[in-house]
């Protein structure tokens, strides 16, 4: 169980650290490596202290994203449970060959001779003015790969329990941490692990379903608070995993609310939200009165604060779009 602070909460980055530490404690086959993660403790200060505790099982690597992912693959099919960190999710592209062509295919193509239990952790997301190559959320790049699980927790508690589950999972797992969440504090997880591939209804409502992942879930929850003040009851679904994808929970919610909005920090074309909305339409059209997507423009992510702020979905945009689509009069919508 993760250690809470005095307020009973835990910082997201600490939850990640404790999940790694607790699994390394529990299972000597877990190892962790990445650039600057051992002695320096990581550029987002997620992993200080692990090297001191676990010695040669926590390794500083060269800037070799491909060798890292392939090294994790080779170690995973040979008895270890490697976790490796790709500093920014934008850099995942350099490790994709081994992730996609080796790790994700091993169980199936080998005819189930062996499994590939590895975890790649990476910091994704915009909102910090890091510019086009340090801000992306490459969920769709990963989601379309059979054999690779994809997890993107929204809270510190979930990050802890989902990461422990990911490390114990016998399949390769991409674990995406949003940079803007590292410093948030949330209640400590009441459980050691949560199942991968299960969405959660994190707020109940009856008028509209808001679906998102990671930081987007928190935007949706704040939007739901504001919408409640306007008399709109929004249900919020946190997908938590993008593969396996829990379409059941979304369909059940849509059957109740008859309206769905999916909020994605990424381009609309080719995104996870458009894909999921397609599935909901195919399987639940009879339940739908309205459905739409809130996503980013089809350009690279801009740097300047004014441009980046306008680029990203936020709770204001969610509140505004839900209000107008539900036909709330402008004066009601603005509370005027």
């Amino acid at each position: 169980m993760a250690q809470a602070n005095d307020q009973g909460t835990i910082e997201y980055r600490v939850a990640v650290r404790e999940a790694i530490g607790d699994e390394m404690e529990r299972d000597p086959s877990v190892v962790f490596f990445g650039e600057d993660v051992a002695i320096a403790g990581g550029v987002f200060a997620v992993t200080p202290g692990l090297h001191e505790r676990f010695g040669e099982r926590v390794i500083d690597t060269p800037i070799s994203e491909l060798a890292m992912s392939a090294g994790a693959f080779g170690a995973a099919v040979n008895g270890l449970r490697p976790i490796f960190e790709i500093m920014f999710a934008d850099f995942l592209l350099l490790s994709m060959d081994s992730l996609v062509n080796q790790a994700a295919k091993y169980w199936y193509v080998s005819n189930e001779q062996g499994s590939c239990p590895l975890v790649v952790r990476s910091a994704m997301g915009a909102g910090g003015n890091f510019g086009a190559m340090h801000s992306q959320s490459p969920v769709p790049w990963l989601q379309g790969v059979p054999g690779l699980k994809v997890v993107a927790p929204a809270t510190a508690g979930d990050a802890y329990a989902l990461l422990r589950a990911a490390i114990r999972d016998d399949n390769p797992v991409a674990f995406l941490e949003h940079k803007r969440l590292y410093s948030v504090k949330d209640p400590v997880s009441p459980v050691d692990t949560l199942p991968l591939g299960e969405a959660a209804v994190v707020r109940e409502g009856t008028d509209v379903t808001l679906v998102s992942i990671s930081k987007g879930v928190r935007d949706c929850l704040r939007a739901a608070d504001e919408l409640a003040e306007k008399g709109v009851s929004a249900e919020v679904v946190d997908l938590r995993s993008l593969r396996p994808l829990d379409t059941e929970t979304v369909l059940r919610s849509v059957a109740k609310t008859n309206r769905v909005v999916m909020v994605e920090e990424g381009p609309l074309i080719g995104g996870w939200a458009a894909n999921l909305l397609g599935i909901v339409a195919a399987e639940g059209l009879h339940d739908l009165d309205d459905a739409w997507l809130i996503a980013c423009p089809e350009t690279p992510i801009p740097y300047s604060p004014t441009l980046e702020d306008a680029f990203l979905p936020n709770e204001g945009r969610i509140v505004g779009e839900v209000s107008s689509r539900l036909g709330l009069a402008a004066e009601i919508a603005t509370g005027a």
């Binding site: 070799s64 081994s98 001779q113």
Partner: protein, 328 residues
Amino acid sequence: MAEKTQATAPGAEIDAVEARDLYRRMRLIRTFEDTVQQQFQKGNVHGTTHLYSGQEASGVGVCSMLREGDKVAGTYRGHGHSIALGVDPQKLMDEMLGRVTGACGGRAGSMNVVDVASGLIGCFGIVGGSIGAATGAALAEKLRGTGNVAVAFFGDGTSNQAYFHESLNWAQVEKLPVVFVCENNLYMEFTPIEDVTAGAIGSRPQAMGIDYRQVDGNDVFAVREAAGEAIEHARSGAGPAFLETMTYRFVGHSRSDPGKYRKPGEMDEWKKRDPLILGRRALEERYGIEAERLDEIDAEVAKQLEEIVERGLAAPFPDPGSDGKEFK
């Protein structure tokens, strides 16, 4: 009768029976590849194949120096690596034929065979994949303190890839027990290696301070000796070793390759140095094994392959209705 070799590497000295087995295994690979080609032309092997014909001494020499627990990563040109390591040729042929009895139940095909029981962590359809995978396997062996090594087979062209440079560097920094075996057959697909490669391949590991040796890759005894030293180096904890086996591919790069890129006379010169010819000569000279005995081996292997194909063609195809799950 059995004259000993001048081997210096530990375990490189063998008796006549073992020497004969080396020859048999090289012959098995050659005949296996000839058979795959025939079955490909008959439409029984699908997709594409990359044959190992001409390079047999490299894989057989290296794998003959491995011990139980060592791991091997091969390439898309991996039938030879697999057989050299001891993968059942029946299972391998059945895989080529797409049968449920294949090494991977027909899911892998020619380029992607895995055989965990033999220590074959995989053959990799992506150029360079073997290098990274073996490096990771070696990391696991080091952290577990097993004393096992991992071997990566790959070609000359692969030395220009990120997998090569990144993995060699990391393996040397971490002193991993991995042996990089570069099978230099002078071409990457259809392009002469010198046209696309700056400097000598061997200069690259040497620049990183990696133990390096180059050997006549068509002489199985020479390969054994050099591989024995390289493996010993890696096993001792001194870090990775790099072995460049100089060899030549006697067939097309893959199924459709007229081989127009070859230099005039080059093939004829290399054919004089066919690993099977060199192997026979060595067996006769060093061990006094008579040519008739070697002809018998050839005939036995030919018969073995005939039976393998017969059984393989009689084996069932996988049932699409029972195909597997995405996740374990």
